[in-house]
């Protein structure tokens, strides 16, 4: 690692030469012994330090012992008066970041340097000492630091100020005492001192809004000279504007004049900072935008790529919200399409696609076509996505845009790029009916020569859904059947399914489809043969009994209602018997995490356990089997939901217990999973005594104790409650674990005869409303919402009080309701002030429920929520509101 050049020693010697060739850590550490010589040779010492720094810089690490040794050796070098060597010593100490008791060794040397006459010593000693020191030492040197801040040498002042910024993170109370000196430094004539002082002053006062506002007010009157400090001031100003905006919505925006005047500053960085600040103002008006856009437009034709990039990047953001404001720059942006820097060109194109009007689309597309051939895939994807949104904006232009997409589809490109194009075409087909036929044909042509199996199967699937609905479905058959000849098994199988869909939907094509499907019966792959046989049978191709249309459609086009993971586990658990596998028995609930019991697999078979020796249950249907095997619970009916295990003990206690809540229509069963973690004892007659006095609607009907609980083999005890039917009874239960303890002889493993009765307090357990709702997602929320109808819709508004942010509010409601968030709406974009969240679930009694939540947050962080519920049952819609109202 330390010798990056060694491996290429055969190459050109001059180019490969390095003074560090063949350098080795061990040897350099040996060399460091020269630091201990009584007669120091500064040059030689500098040289060794450089080597050490080289090693560290190349990623080499020193062990603790090595670092300590080097550190102590380096401290000896303070004896030398050589400036260059001292500078290297400073660097080395910073790199070694010594620990507290080592710091003490160098403190006095550094403090001496801090008071030296040489400015370089002072500045560097301050930076080093502040870097390595902790709070205790700070009070000793505080006096010197305060002096240094107002030192007439700008290097010393900057060193102290920057160190102050770093120390503020760990010891704010000390740095806050320097306010006066820092304030004085803000007035410094040295540009960077002013910058550092302003940064520190703001950080000292950042939590005091009034003070920040005062600071901004006084400084914007024009005493700041340094461009960097000016940039800082612009940032502080826009922060003040942002915070005051919610209070005074009337009249002129405060400080806008200042921002505007910065657009005329002579330093480009200040102009850019100001222009960006203006474009990012909340609710910026087009009048306010104009001057900022004008300076950015000038930047677009700068000779400096960095400036062009900065300008186009800012304009690109503006175009998302105010496309009209940017149109003036269109001509300048068009010339950037041929920019050498591809990032600039791509940003220019995507901005143009946002600002362009309908008439300019064709011209633009022509320019982009030339550009596309010489940019990397990552940029092409950005362009494709921009074109997709442009097409949705101007549906009339679909022809040229679709042509463009199909042209680039034919060119070379990687998977991600092709996928982006396919996705765009599919979206256009869905949203623009006129584009369907041409789009489908483009896709057909693409699969004729597609190297990506994934894309081919996706397209075939899509063709099966959309193709039969077109005016002339037969023209697609050729493309699809060609796949059966030319592709791998996965694509062939997918083509077979697609053909079957055409057969099912288009009666006139059926006989021809049968011919094609029969040919597939001799395919070399069994999946392809199986599918062909299956479809021939369902569609009646074998002259066998034809299923009803509805069943067939459901079979071919319906979506799988159960999550695939659950289906997989159920199929694995299924034991071949007379009873055939029932898909309805597959739980529909999405398990977000594996059950905690997986952590404690039964190492030994649980002896003397009445419950089935299947060990820990891992899925909901395993729970169901477990419960139905217990006579007392077999009459409870179908299990509705099992909760995730709730821990009732803390980790590391003698007995660990968690509970799973099983909800039935009229009963609730608590399954206590107990583990005995003490090798010397055996527990017998283990039961949980439940006090349900805080849960009035529940009455205990059965309890099933655990006869014996040996060391480290988990066992279960159950308690069952009855509750009113159809009521989502909630309540709190307190639990005590009761058992008989018997000591075990470690040598024989035999338990003693006599035991002692004992109790163990467990934590409380709650049954909450979310326990009565299953997390069941829907794939298309809008469709589900529309088809549910508004008959039992209930809408109401709630105030959720002050919250940290919207994410917290959204999560709280989701957890309260225990429903499945749909379409990723549980994620709140950062800093957004409003959010919509879609939830779906199944309420006890198998009633589907859909919920639409709209959140808004105001300046005081108060969150308001609108809740709209649709369900198949009026009382369920009301119940959801009740949950929220009482939660």
């Amino acid at each position: 690692m330390a010798q990056p050049f060694v491996k290429k020693d055969d190459d050109d010697e001059e180019a490969e030469y390095s003074p560090f060739l063949g350098i080795e850590k061990g040897a350099v550490l040996q060399e460091a012994r020269v630091f201990n010589d009584p007669q120091l040779d500064p040059r030689r010492c500098s040289q060794v330090i450089t080597k050490l720094l080289y090693l560290l810089n190349q990623g080499e690490t020193f062990t603790k012992v090595e670092a300590t040794e080097v550190f102590f050796a380096v401290t000896k070098l303070f004896q030398s008066r050589d400036i260059g060597l001292r500078r290297m010593v400073y660097l080395m100490i910073k790199e070694l970041s010594p620990c507290a008791d080592e710091v003490i060794i160098v403190t006095s040397s550094l403090m001496k340097d801090m008071n030296s006459k040489t400015d370089m010593y002072r500045a560097n000693a301050i930076r080093v000492l502040c870097r390595i020191t902790d709070g205790t030492l700070l009070t000793q040197i505080e006096r010197y630091l305060k002096q240094a801040i107002v030192d007439k040498n700008p290097v010393v002042a900057s060193a102290a100020l920057v160190s102050g910024i770093h120390i503020l993170q760990t010891n704010p109370e000390i740095v806050k005492r320097w306010s006066n000196e820092v304030q004085e430094a803000v007035q410094s004539r040295a540009a960077l001192v002013q910058f550092h002082a302003l940064a520190l002053l703001h950080q000292i006062r950042q939590n005091d809004r009034l003070a920040v506002s005062k600071l901004v007010t006084s400084l914007t009157r024009g005493s700041v000279r340094s461009p960097l400090a000016q940039c800082l001031l612009i940032r502080y100003t826009s922060q003040v504007i942002h915070e005051s905006a919610s209070n005074s919505q009337t009249g002129e925006r405060p400080f806008f004049d200042y921002l505007e005047s910065c657009l005329r500053h002579k330093a480009e960085m200040v102009i850019l900072e100001a222009a960006r600040a203006i474009t990012e103002l909340n609710g910026v008006t087009s009048r306010e935008l104009t001057p900022a856009i004008t300076v950015l437009q000038l930047f677009l034709s700068s000779s400096k790529p960095v400036l062009r990039f900065a300008a186009i990047r800012t304009l690109n953001k503006v175009a998302m919200t105010h496309p009209m404001a940017v149109t003036n720059c269109n001509i300048d942006m068009e010339s950037l399409i041929s920019d050498q820097n591809r990032s600039i060109a791509t940003l220019a194109i995507t901005t143009l696609l946002k600002t362009g009007n309908e008439s300019s689309v064709d011209r633009l597309m022509k320019q982009i076509t030339n550009f596309m051939s010489d940019i990397a895939d990552e940029f092409k994807i950005v362009v494709v996505e921009a074109i997709r949104s442009l097409c949705l904006k101007f549906p009339l232009k679909y022809r040229s845009l679709m042509n463009f997409l199909s042209n680039i589809l034919r060119e070379e490109g990687g998977f991600e790029y092709k996928k982006a194009i396919i996705d765009s075409i599919v979206i256009l087909i869905r949203d623009i009916p006129e584009a369907k036929e041409s789009g489908l044909l483009h896709l057909c042509e693409f699969i004729e020569d597609c190297e990506f199996t994934y894309l081919s199967t996706q397209i075939l699937h899509f063709l099966g859904i959309e193709g039969p609905k077109t005016s002339d479905p037969s023209k697609y058959i050729r493309y699809i059947y060609n796949r059966v000849h030319l592709e791998n098994a996965t694509v062939r199988a997918s083509a077979v399914s697609t053909m079957a869909k055409f057969g099912a939907k288009v009666e006139s094509l059926k006989p021809r489809i049968f011919v094609l499907l029969r040919r597939c019966l001799l395919d070399s792959d069994d999946e392809v043969r199986d599918r062909a046989t299956l479809y021939l049978n369902t569609l009646g191709g074998h002259g066998s009994e034809v299923e009803t249309d509805e069943n067939m459609n459901e079979f071919l086009f319906g979506s799988l209602e159960v999550p695939l993971v659950n289906l997989e586990t159920s199929l694995k658990n299924y034991e071949p018997s007379d009873e055939s596998f029932d898909i309805n028995s597959v739980p529909k609930e999405i398990k977000s995490q594996p059950l905690a019991e997986k952590k404690a697999p039964g190492k030994k078979p649980a002896t003397g356990l009445a419950a089935p020796p299947s060990g820990p249950a891992t899925t909901v249907d395993a729970y169901e089997r477990l419960l139905s095997s217990i006579a007392e619970f077999s009459s409870f009916g179908k299990l509705f939901k099992s909760s995730a295990p709730v821990e009732l003990t803390e980790a590391g206690t003698e007995y660990t217990v968690n509970v799973v809540k099983h909800i039935f229509d009229r009963h609730v069963v608590f399954q206590y999973n107990c583990t005995n973690t003490i090798p010397e004892v055996l527990l017998e007659n283990v039961a949980v005594i439940v006090d349900s006095s805080d849960a009035e609607e529940f009455s205990e009907v059965a309890s099933k104790p655990l006869p014996s609980l040996p060391y480290d083999s988990p066992g279960q005890t159950f308690v069952a409650f009855e509750k009113p039917d159809g009521v989502t009874a909630i309540g709190k239960f307190s639990n005590i674990l009761k058992f008989i303890v018997k000591e075990v002889d470690p040598s024989t493993g035999e338990a003693e005869e006599d035991g002692v009765e004992d109790e163990y307090q467990l934590e409380d357990l709650e049954v909450v409303a979310a326990d009565y709702i299953l997390k069941v997602g829907v794939s298309n929320f809008r469709n589900a919402w529309e088809s549910m109808g508004a008959d039992y819709e209930r809408v109401d508004e709630y105030g959720l009080g002050p919250r940290e942010n919207l994410t917290e509010a959204v999560n709280a409601v989701i957890n309260l309701l225990g429903m499945q968030p749909c379409e990723g709406t549980e994620v709140v974009p950062s800093n957004s002030r409003s959010h919509s969240c879609l939830l779906s679930g199944v309420y006890i009694g198998n009633v589907k429920v859909l919920v639409r939540l709209s959140f808004g947050i105001d300046g005081q962080r108060d969150v308001a929520m609108k809740l709209a519920v649709r369900s198949e049952d009026e009382s369920v819609s009301d119940a959801i509101h009740e949950i929220v109202a009482s939660g």
Partner: protein, 181 residues
């Protein structure tokens, strides 16, 4: 919210992408292999561009990277996604020109990988004078080079009486001798 402009790293690579000197000021790349991976990404993405007359710019892993090439040396300065590009460019310019100034006076006039390695102490001091823990310390190349040069001579005479170029000449002699020993 962090309002102070900050630099995430400053890199100096050779024309093959090997690290000559690098300084990281944030925890985005915690391990040396993460750092090397970032340097490789930066190097390959910028390799083919012509960043010789004017500094260039690219977005890499959601960071703004400004860069400039001088002979066989590739200079990079990285900042956060929302950082003012021109501030980063100023830092880059300071670094690039200061190194150029130091190398062209302290060595045989070449600004290349070999000279950079032979004068690595100057370059490390240079980095130390430009950014301190992510905060910009100085951006004027003359001031940076002057500080580094004045520090690398013996405290023989009062500094104010020496011009920078004199100082640099002494430094050059001092360093080439010491490193080639």
């Amino acid at each position: 919210m962090e309002l102070c402009p900050s630099v995430k790293n400053v890199l100096l690579l050779d024309s093959e992408g090997n690290r000559v000197a690098a300084k990281y000021y944030c925890d985005d790349w915690p391990t040396n292999s993460a750092k090397e991976a970032f340097e490789k990404a930066v190097f390959t993405k910028t390799q083919k561009t012509n960043a010789r007359t004017e500094a260039e710019i690219a977005m890499i892993e959601n960071n703004v990277v400004v860069y400039k090439f001088v002979q066989s040396l590739h200079f990079f300065v990285t900042g956060g996604e929302d950082e003012n590009e021109l501030i980063l460019a100023t830092v880059l310019q300071g670094f690039c020109d200061a190194v150029g100034l130091l190398l062209s006076t302290c060595s045989r006039g070449h600004v290349d990988r070999r000279e950079a390695l032979e004068n690595l102490d100057l370059i490390l001091m240079c980095l130390d004078e430009i950014v301190d823990g992510g905060i910009i310390l100085e951006t004027d190349p003359n001031v940076i080079a002057g500080k580094v040069a004045s520090q690398s001579v013996d405290a023989g005479g009062p500094l104010s009486e020496q011009t920078i170029s004199q100082a640099l000449a002494t430094a050059r002699e001092h360093l080439t001798r010491s490193l080639l020993n």
